[in-house]
Every structure is written in structure tokens, then in C-alpha cells.
């Protein structure tokens, strides 16, 4: 009985310690970014530019732009996100810090969680920029559905960061990583894109078909599946 309790406490402290490791790694990425590493900041401009270019590509018709809004929003987030998660690893590699990270005597899953949290922060920043820009450029009223949109962007950002971090770690040492990362990532995030765009469109329309719940469930399921895959296999990418 007592041993059971002690074991439980030991597990809780171990989990807390791993979370502290993850937080420290994510905080390091954030600090480096704020001190001008420019891993993510440049991708913010790319996301904004993407939205502008989409406008030119689709023409000045307001109705068609507004109809395409949810899809364009998520394309801008995902296309810039591929670069953001890739650069978070690439700059670490160029600094020679990736090898050191692999040498720390902590569970690989904690390192993965830390890098994924950093990726999540980058994706949330992208979403926070792209949402108001979409509203302004494509004349979409987002204010009425804001809480739901924040939730959808959060879930989408988490899922993308989860798989993006795994694949960025897997490809960072490869010659053709700039091409390979989007080639691997885009088909895998296709269901996330579908669910996020459908949920966003449904929220903006006031959920007329009552399908919002299903898409949110799909997003949550996707997030959990990819976090699990990343936690289990990211260490294999580090161990080389």
C-alpha cells in the first residue's frame, strides 16, 4: 500500500521533471528568437505576403475572396509553418546545438515535447497574425466567432507542430531538407488542413450543418496521434 503511494509520487515527480525539461528547451528557443535569431519572425512576413498574393491570384471579387477565406488562411499558416518548424531545427543544427541536445541525459520524449512546444509557439504566432489579416484583406467578420476560431487555430497549430517537429528532426541532417520537409509534411497534414478549414468555414457561417463538433474531434484525434508518434520516435532521429 505504502509502496504503491511512493511509486505514485515518484511517477508524478518524474513527469514533472520531464515537463520542466520540455519547458526549458522551449524557453531557450523563444529566448533565442527574441534575441534576434530570426527563425520564425521571417516566416511571419511570408505568411502575410502569401495572403496578399492569394488576393492577386484570385482577383478583386469580394464574394469569391470571402468564400475562399478559410482555405487561404490555413494555406498561409501551413506553408509558412513548414518553413518555421524546419528553421527551428536547422538553426540549431548550424549552431552545433542539436548534437548537444542529444547528449543531455533526459528522456527523448521530453526533448521532443520541448521542441514541439517551441513549434507550437511559432504556429500560434502565425495564426495570431494571419487571422486578423484574413479578416481585413478578405472582408470577413471574424469577431462574432472569435472564441471558436481561437480554439480551432490552437488545435491546428498543435497538430502541425507535433508532426512538423518530428519530420523536421528527421530531415535536418539531409542534403535536400528544404524540399524534402514539405514533400513529407504536406500529405500528412492533409487531414488537419481539411478539418481546420471545414471547422473555420463552419464557424464563420454560424455552424448551419451542425458539423463543427465532428471536425473538432478529428483535430483533437489528429493532435493526439501525432504527439504520440512524435514522442515515441523523435529520439530515433536524435540518436544518429
Amino acid at each position: 500500500m505504502e509502496r504503491g503511494a511512493a511509486g505514485g509520487i515518484a511517477t508524478v515527480t518524474a513527469v514533472a521533471r520531464h515537463l520542466a525539461v520540455a519547458r526549458a528547451i522551449a524557453a531557450k528557443d523563444l529566448r533565442a528568437e527574441l534575441r534576434g535569431r530570426q527563425a520564425v519572425t521571417s516566416t511571419l512576413f511570408l505568411a502575410a505576403l502569401t495572403l496578399l498574393i492569394f488576393g492577386f491570384a484570385l482577383g478583386p471579387d469580394r464574394a469569391s475572396l470571402a468564400a475562399a477565406g478559410p482555405g487561404l488562411l490555413w494555406l498561409a499558416v501551413i506553408l509558412s509553418g513548414v518553413l518555421a518548424v524546419g528553421r527551428l531545427h536547422q538553426l540549431e543544427m548550424e549552431d552545433g546545438a542539436f548534437e548537444l541536445l542529444a547528449l543531455y541525459p533526459v528522456p527523448r520524449a521530453a526533448i521532443y515535447l520541448g521542441k514541439a512546444l517551441g513549434g507550437l509557439a511559432a504556429m500560434v504566432a502565425l495564426g495570431a497574425l494571419v487571422l486578423p489579416l484574413t479578416a481585413i484583406l478578405y472582408a470577413i467578420d471574424v469577431a462574432s466567432a472569435l472564441p471558436g476560431l481561437v480554439l480551432v487555430i490552437g488545435l491546428g497549430a498543435l497538430g502541425f507542430a507535433a508532426i512538423g517537429t518530428l519530420y523536421a528532426g528527421l530531415t535536418v541532417r539531409l542534403r535536400a531538407r528544404e524540399v524534402l520537409l514539405p514533400l513529407l509534411l504536406l500529405p500528412v497534414v492533409a487531414p488537419l488542413l481539411l478539418a481546420a478549414v471545414s471547422a473555420t468555414a463552419s464557424l464563420l457561417a454560424g455552424d448551419p450543418l451542425g458539423e463543427l463538433g465532428a471536425w473538432l474531434q478529428l483535430l483533437i484525434g489528429y493532435d493526439l496521434a501525432m504527439l504520440l508518434a512524435g514522442g515515441l520516435t523523435y529520439g530515433l532521429a536524435l540518436e544518429e
Binding site: L180, L183, L184, A195, A214, L218, G221, A229, T233, L236
Partner: protein, 239 residues
């Protein structure tokens, strides 16, 4: 020798099944001659999914045991699977044009899922191409193979929910087994084609597996300097 017999058997049965599907079975009342494409389409699709199942299992096998055999099986599954997926999509488009009036039908969940499947495993083959050292290549590929296997059911769900209008599965669904709408000759032609394609699949898998094992051995020997002639042909590992 046994592989030769298998290959010959596959050749004969594929030819026989093709002849039967072309002249032995009447054309479909509604779809006309185009319906004959379905025999190839369905058989390819079934083997494509089987191949990727093999790759997923072999990827897990490699990660647990680190046996070169496992990696060779995974590679064979992915490469043969990409071949059959491409055949599935091609046959589906050839059928869709006369029957649906369009090559590509965005509302069909199985077509869109299969297209993503092709993209997923082309990525798998690419990451293999770009890694020189065999064990690293096997590990990276195994991670991609497992993520793809996790992703496929989610992809399928998402595109089904995304408003599918496809006719339900013709096969393996309970009410079609209880009151079969497809007349005997149609079912016989499909089963014959499935069997013939499965033989061809097995032959391809065995040969690709053997080639992968030989490749691995050649790379390892070149690395250890046992085959100096080959050393120049195989790129040195990156530091």
C-alpha cells in the same frame, strides 16, 4: 527456380484473367465496356493497401529488432505499393471519364485518399534516396512508414466526412453478400483478377526484397573496404 515458376504462373494467370474479363464476361448494362476497367482497378487497389500494410509492419519490425531483412521488406512494400497505387489511380481515371464524365472526382473519398496515399509513399521513397548510410536510412524510413500508417485512417475519415457521394463498397459489405446484386460472371472475373494480380504482386515483392538485400550487402562491403571497386560507386557517409 521457385521464383521463376511463380513469375510464369503470374504471367499466365494475369493473361487468362484479362482474356476472361475482356471476352468471357458480358459488358455492364449501365456502364458499358468501361466497367471492365473495374477488374484491374479493384485488384490494384487491394494490393496497394496490402503493400502499405506490409511496409508499416516491417517498419515496426525494423525499429524493434534492427534486422536488415525488415528494412528490405519495408522497401519492397513501399515500392511495389507505389506502383499499384499509381495503377489504381490511372485505372480509376480511365473509368471515371466515360462513367462519371470526369477524370477527377473531388467528392469521391476513395480517390482523394488514394492520391494522398501515393504522395505519402513517394515521400517515403524520397527520404530513402537521400540517406546514404543503410541503418540510418532504415530508421528514418521506418519513422515515415509508421507515421504514414497512422495518417491513412485519419485521411480516410476526413475525406469521407468531407461529403462523399461514392457508391458504397461493392464487396465485403453485409447486404451485398446477403443479396448479391452482381451476377456470377462479374464476381468470378473480379476474383480471378484478384488472384492473378496477387500472384504478380508476390513475384514483384520477392524480387524487390532480394534486390534490397543485395544492395544492403554491397553497401556494407564497400563501407568496410572489402570491395574496393565498389567503394568509389557508393558515396562515403556524411560526417
Amino acid at each position: 527456380m521457385a521464383t521463376r515458376v511463380l513469375g510464369l504462373g503470374a504471367l499466365v494467370t494475369v493473361a487468362g484473367a484479362t482474356a476472361f474479363a475482356l471476352v468471357g464476361v458480358p459488358a455492364d448494362l449501365n456502364q458499358g465496356e468501361a466497367q471492365r476497367i473495374m477488374y484491374i482497378h479493384v485488384a490494384s487497389a487491394w494490393l496497394a493497401y496490402l503493400s502499405f500494410g506490409v511496409t508499416a509492419a516491417a517498419s515496426a519490425w525494423w525499429l524493434v529488432r534492427r534486422e536488415p531483412r525488415a528494412d528490405a521488406v519495408a522497401l519492397a512494400g513501399a515500392e511495389v505499393g507505389v506502383l499499384f497505387t499509381a495503377a489504381t489511380i490511372w485505372a480509376g481515371m480511365m473509368w471515371g471519364r466515360p462513367v462519371w464524365g470526369t477524370y477527377w472526382q473531388w467528392e469521391d473519398p476513395r480517390l482523394t485518399t488514394t492520391a494522398l496515399l501515393l504522395a505519402l509513399y513517394v515521400g517515403y521513397l524520397l527520404i530513402r534516396r537521400l540517406t546514404d548510410e543503410p541503418a540510418r536510412r532504415a530508421t528514418r524510413a521506418a519513422v515515415v512508414g509508421i507515421v504514414a500508417a497512422i495518417d491513412i485512417p485519419i485521411v480516410h475519415f476526413s475525406v469521407v466526412w468531407w461529403r462523399g457521394l461514392h457508391q458504397g463498397p461493392t464487396f465485403m459489405s453485409p447486404d451485398t453478400i446477403l443479396n448479391p446484386p452482381a451476377p456470377g460472371p462479374f464476381v468470378a472475373a473480379l476474383l480471378l483478377m484478384l488472384g492473378a494480380f496477387s500472384l504478380a504482386w508476390l513475384w514483384l515483392m520477392v524480387n524487390r526484397y532480394r534486390l534490397a538485400r543485395l544492395d544492403w550487402e554491397a553497401e556494407e562491403s564497400a563501407r568496410r573496404g572489402r570491395l574496393p571497386g565498389l567503394a568509389a560507386a557508393v558515396p562515403a557517409p556524411r560526417p
